[in-house]
Amino acid sequence: MEKKFFQTSIKDSLFTGLIALALFGPIVGLRTVAKNEVLEVHPKWLIVLIIVIVCAVGRFLTNLYVYNRDQKTGIQSSIGKSISNFLDTKGYQIALTAIIFSVIFPFLPFTDRYLMDIAIMMLTYIMLGWGLNIVIGLAGLLDLGYVAFYAVGAYSYALFAIHFGWSFWICLPIAGIFAAMFGVLLGFPVLRLRGDYLAIVTLAFGEMIRILLLNWYQLTKGPDGLTGIPRPSFFGLPFKSFPDEGEQTFHTFFGVEYDPMQRIIFLYYLILVLALITNLFTIKIRRLPIGRAWEALREDEIACKSLGVNPRNTKLTAFAIGAMFGGFAGSFFATRQAFISPESFTFIESAIIVAIVVLGGMGSQTGVVLATVFLIGLIEVFRDFESYRMIAFGGAMVLIMIFRPRGILATRKPTITLEKSSSK
C-alpha cells in the first residue's frame, strides 16, 4: 500500500514536471529579443530547468504531506476565522485605534513625504474599496468597470475647476452627481442582466469611457491629459510659498513658516474625512430598509421579487451610490495630481479595486482596509518588479477564491437577527 502510493506519487510528479516543461519551455525558455528590427531567440534553459524541478519536487512533497492526510485542515481558513472572530469581539476598539492612529499619523516622528504619499494613495483605494463594497459586497453586483466612475468624477472635477474656476467644495458634489448620473445611465439598461453578464458589460462600459476620453480631443485633450487642475485651498486660503500682493495664504493667515508638507497634510486629512464619510454612510445605510433590501437581493433575488422588492430600482440605487463615491474619490485624485490622463483609468485599476473588495471579504468594511494595506503595500514594496508583483497579485486572487471564496474576513452575518425570546 505504502509502496504503491510512493510509486504513483513519483509518476505524478514526473508528469507535473513534463507539463511544467511544456508550459515554461517555450515562453520562458525561448525569449524573443529584437535585434536590428529582426527578432532573435535567446534560450534561457537554466531558468526553465529550475522551474521544472521546483514544480516536480513541490508536487511530490505536496502529495506526500498534504494530500496523504485523512482530513484536510485548511490552514488559511482557520487563520481567517480566528482573525474575524477577533475582529468581531474587539471590532469597535480596533476601529477606534485605527482611526486615532490615522488622525495622528502625519505628526508621528517617522512620517516623511514618501510615507505620506503612500498613506494618501492607500486612503484613496480604501475609499474606492468602500464605495465599490456597496455595489459588490452589499448588493452583490460584480462591477468590473468601477474605474469609469472614478474617471468621470476626476474629469468632471477637472473640467469644471479649469473652465469655470469653481472651488473644490463646489466641484466635489458636482463630480459626485455626474458620476452617479453615469451610474444610473449605465445601470438602467444592464442591471437586469445576470451576474457574470453584468460583469462583462460593466467592463466594456469602463473601456468605452476610457476610449472616449482618449479620442474626444476637444474636451479631454486626449492622451495628453488635462493639466493645471487647481490645487485645493484651505477654505479659501491657498498653499503658496510666495503669495501675491495682498493675498492671504495658509501660512500668513496662521502666522507659521511655509512648508510644502502643509498641503500634503491637508490632502491627507481631506481624503481621510472623505473615506470615513463613505464608511459611515455604508454602516448607516445597511440598517435602513434600502440597505436591507440590497443584502436580501444579494442572497436571493427571486425571493425578494416575491416579497415586493423592486430589484431594478434597488440595484440602481446601489449602483448610483457606489458610483457617486467613486466620483468623489476621482475628484480628490484630480486635485491631488493636478494632472489627469486616460492612462490612470485603465482596466487594471478596476481589477485592483475589485481585488481589494474580494480579498477583504465582500461586505466587510474592515476587510477592505486590511486588503488595501496588504495589496497596496505589496505593490509599493515590489515597485521595481512591475510584472512579478502583478503575477503575485493575480495569483492571490485565484488562491483567495479557492481557499476563502468569501474573502479573508468572510463575515456574512445578517445585519439583523431576531432576539431569542425568554418565554417559551
Binding site: I19, A22, L23, G25, P26, I27, V28, L30, R31, T32, V33, A34, E37, V38, L39, E40, V41, L142, L144, P189, V190, L193, R194, G195, D196, Y197, A199, I200, V201, L203, A204, F205, E207, M208, I211, L212, N215, I302, F347, I348, A351, V354, A355, V358, E386, S387, Y388, M390, I391, F393, G394, G395, A396, M397, V398, M401, I402, P405, R406
Partner: protein, 305 residues
C-alpha cells in the same frame, strides 16, 4: 470605386471574423459545459500567438519548406497552448465548481492578470514584430481607382478556419466525446451516473478551446505581424461578444457571431470612424445583451429557484 472599397472591407472583415470565431468557440464551449465565462481565454489566445511567433522565428533559421513550417507551427501552437488551457482549468476553475456563482469569474480574472504579466515578464513588454510569412496575393478591379487585394494569407486564414471548424463540428456531433460533452451540458450529475468521466470531459473541452484559440493567435500574428502581451484583452472581449451574439453555448452560433463581429468592426472603421472601432464591438455587446441575450442560435436561459 465604392463597390471596390466595399469588397475590400468584406474581404478584411471575413478574415478578421475567422480569427474572432475561432476564439469565440472556446468561450461558448466552456460556457456551455460549466456555465462560466472563462475570462482568461483571451490571454490563452495571446499565449498561443507568442508560441506561434517563437516557432516561426525558430523555423526561419532552418530551410524547411513553407507548407511544412505552417503545419508544424500550427501543431506546436495547438499542443503547447492546450497545456495552458488544461493547467488553468485544473488550477483555477476545478476547485471552484461548487463555489458561489461569481467565484470562478473572479478567479478567471486573476488568472488573466497572471498570464498577461507572466508573458510580459518572460518575453518583455515591447511589441514583437514578425516578418511576413506568406507574401503575395491577387489584385483585381484596378480600373476603378481602388485596387482590391486578396492576399494568399487571407485565403489561408479563411481556409484553415473552415477546415478546423468542419473537423470540429464533426467531432461534436458525431463522436462519443461530443455526446459526452453535450450530456455534461445538460446534467452533470446524471452524466456521471451514466459512467462518463465528467472531469475528463471538461478538461478536453478546455484543451479543444485553447488549441483553437492558439490557431487564432497564429493567424493574428501572421495577419498583423505585431503582437504584445496585451492583445488578449481586447480580442478576448470581442470574441466573447461574438459568442454572445451567436448565442452562448452554441458552437455554430460562435462561428456566425465571430464572422459578424469581424464584419461590423471592419465596416465601422472603414465607413464611420477608425478611432472608435473598439467601441463598435462594445456597443454590439451591450445592445445584444440587453435586447436579445439569447443571441441568434442560443437557447433561452430559465432561472430556477
Amino acid at each position: 470605386m465604392d463597390t471596390a472599397y466595399f469588397l475590400q472591407q468584406l474581404i478584411n472583415g471575413v478574415t478578421l471574423g475567422s480569427v474572432y470565431g475561432l476564439i469565440a468557440i472556446g468561450y461558448t464551449m466552456v460556457y456551455g459545459i460549466i456555465g462560466m465565462i472563462n475570462f482568461a481565454h483571451g490571454d490563452i489566445f495571446m499565449v498561443g500567438a507568442f508560441i506561434a511567433l517563437i516557432s516561426f522565428i525558430l523555423f526561419a533559421l532552418t530551410s524547411i519548406a513553407l507548407p511544412i513550417v505552417l503545419l508544424l507551427t500550427l501543431l506546436i501552437a495547438m499542443v503547447f497552448t492546450a497545456c495552458y488551457g488544461w493547467t488553468v482549468e485544473k488550477l483555477a476553475y476545478k476547485p471552484l465548481r461548487k463555489s458561489f456563482r461569481l467565484a470562478p469569474l473572479i478567479s478567471a480574472l486573476g488568472m488573466s492578470i497572471v498570464l498577461q504579466n507572466y508573458v510580459q515578464a518572460a518575453q518583455g513588454a515591447r511589441i514583437k514584430t514578425l516578418q511576413p510569412v506568406i507574401q503575395g496575393g491577387f489584385t483585381f478591379m484596378e480600373d476603378t481607382g481602388f485596387t482590391v487585394s486578396l492576399s494568399y494569407l487571407q485565403i489561408f486564414i479563411v481556409l484553415v478556419t473552415i477546415v478546423l471548424m468542419a473537423i470540429f463540428t464533426l467531432l461534436i456531433t458525431k463522436t462519443a466525446l461530443g455526446r459526452a460533452q453535450r450530456a455534461c451540458e445538460q446534467d452533470r450529475t446524471m452524466t456521471a451516473l451514466m459512467g462518463i468521466n465528467v472531469d475528463r470531459t471538461i478538461s478536453i473541452t478546455f484543451i479543444i478551446g485553447s488549441s483553437l484559440a492558439s490557431v487564432a493567435g497564429m493567424m493574428f500574428v501572421m495577419y498583423y505581424g505585431v503582437i504584445d502581451f496585451y492583445i488578449g484583452f481586447l480580442a478576448g472581449i470581442k470574441a466573447f461578444t461574438a459568442a454572445v451574439l451567436g448565442g452562448i453555448g452554441s458552437v455554430p452560433g460562435a462561428m456566425l457571431g465571430g464572422l459578424l463581429i469581424g464584419l461590423i468592426e471592419v465596416f465601422w472603421s472603414g465607413y464611420i470612424s477608425i478611432e472608435y472601432k473598439d467601441i463598435a464591438a462594445f456597443t454590439v455587446l451591450v445592445v445584444v445583451l440587453i435586447f436579445f441575450p439569447t443571441g441568434f442560435l442560443g437557447k433561452p436561459d430559465i432561472e430556477k429557484v
